[in-house]
Amino acid sequence: MQLKRPNPPLRLGLMAASCALLGSTSAKAQTATDEKQPWQVDTAFLYYKENAGRLQTIEPIVNLKKDFGDQRILDGTFILDALTGGSPNGAIPSRKPQTFASPSSASITPKAGAKTTLYTIAPGNLPQDPNFNETRVAGDVGWSQPIGIDNSLSFGGHVSTEHDFTSAAVNAAVSHDFNSKNTTLSAGFNEEYDQISPRGGTPVAATDYTLLERQANKNKNVAGALVGVTQVMSRNWLAQLNYSYDRSQGYLTDPYRIVSVVDGSGSVTGYRYESRPGSRVRQSLYLSNKVALGPTVLDVSYRRGKDNWGVNSDTVDTHLRFDLGHYVYLEPHLRWYRQSAADFYHLYLNQADPLPTYMSADPRLAAFTATTIGVKFGIKLSHIGGLSLRLEQYQQRPTDRSSPLTQLQGLDLNPGLKAAIVQIGWQQEY
């Protein structure tokens, strides 16, 4: 060691070396177990198919999750959605053939030069646009981390884009643990902004379908808030109660949906573009229970939805997970859903009645009950990953589907929907 001259190199050198050592390890402030946290990658292919030649989609989903230690978690999901098939346009079946224009041409009396794709529906069939074709790309990213000892913060964003619809959203939530972490209170908000630019322009609500009245592109926003409490009830029972409030404002109408207009006999005389109120408030109360019965886990939840449009709903959802040995599990799923119709829902409009301000024949706003029955089968491959197969069947049964009018008798005006879902998933850690 060189003692005979001033030695700042020693001081600087040792400082740098110590910083390199401590910085390389303590900046991460990790315990050894954290060093092993890998990226968890879930890949899935979802196939969804509706009956009667209606929509089908193939959807690759990739979810990435990384635990950076100390409960700091990054989570991202990417979805590519290719929808094809027929989509009901809202009109009712008729005794006569009906001709419509696909939204890209948007009129059955096209102007010169306009590209027109017409489709004709055979008597008795539910009118649906067979040319529906849409690709959606969506991504979600979220971050959560503890703040201090008993609080945590999470925030995230979402973007989704398709040909005629772009959506962006942000959300944030905080939670606070107390009662020795047996109770968690959480509160969050979200804000979504959507831009709607329909193919062929945005129709003017409630106008005659043949008149091709168009207006500028529209947008809407959704603001929501949520408060919840999660309580450990006992060693094997976890309960959660959430209340959420969402307010949508702006253009809430479906630009592609129409409503049939009929005369006194039930013969179709025309169509109107649908028209919905410019604001909607939805509230929901959600109660969920997770109960571990030995290795079997039961998850039962109930949701009560209240809507100022009149679409009030009840949902009961049950999952049961059985472990069949160390590597295989089985998860039966049963869901029951009921909703009332929107106040402005009409199967069709009567020509003789005054035109209502708001009207829609969207089957999603009708009164119906729906059931989902499914099962998921999974194989855990220790240290490598897991493979799962989910099979589900969804059936929607509308309450209101017939008419006493002569020309409409015997026709199923809202035949409901059956769909099959197949999802194959692969989970792996990198």
Binding site: A20, L21, A32, K36
Partner: protein, 311 residues
Amino acid sequence: MQRAAAAPGDPQSYPAAPDVFIEQRDGGLVAACFFAMASPCELLLDTGDLEQAQRIGLVAAGEAARIEAKFSRYRSDSVVSAINRSAGTTVELDAETAALIDYAARCYELSSGLFDITSGVLRRAWKFDGSDRVPAQSEIDALLGLVGFDRIDWRAPHMTLAPGMEIDFGGIGKEYAVDRALALVEAQSDCALLVNFGGDLRTNRPPAAGPWRVAIERPDTDREARLLLDVTQGGLATSGDTHRYLVRDGVRYGHILDPRSGWPVRDAPRSVTVAAGSCTEAGMYCTFAMLNGAGAEELLERAGVPFWCLR
């Protein structure tokens, strides 16, 4: 190539944290006390929250236990023992061990070869038991053939150690554990903290009521050698040879060995305490000072760090 993993194959399989005892101290402080690294250890917290003290005391204790299990040369299942058993085969080191080796390499350069993690084999000849047994020069010469950091083939993360050579993290391990433990507990707390492992310590900031009052034990038969210091920030480390020495022909040989001669460093201070930014840094100044023997104070003065030497 094998990985220098602690047997039975998992360097992360460290023991559970030792028992932690909570004590209330004067000035509204709480101490979480435990025993690790052959030393009494404590974490002092400027808080009245005993539950928090218990919880993060366990974090500090767990980290001490982890580092001890991973790097102690006394434990046959440590990474250091695995390296020392490698007998000429190349081993791959994990990131943390590699960072410590890099640090040791830098300290070897900064001390012109005085600080050497391979010098431990010299202890096979030297037994510092208070006796007058001085080894034969031939014995020392034979061992010197196994000493020299520059003889290690170190290309991170791969290390090849010649058969018979050994490394240890004396002078680094405990101090590093103090800094690591502080970083971990600091991330889980927002109060003033002091981590003290057997007199090597580090703090993030002083308590609200004023600086930490630290007593450094420097046992000495002749004098009252307890050093009382006020610490506000950074690390503090102490080295000494109070109990480990030989006396032969009136010459006192301390246990600090010069890796170049194979003999104890002459005229090293009985004890040296240094304050620096981190405990790791402070500890290395102490080691450098001891290795410099009579030149200890001069080295520390030139470095410009606060120090307290006892001769």
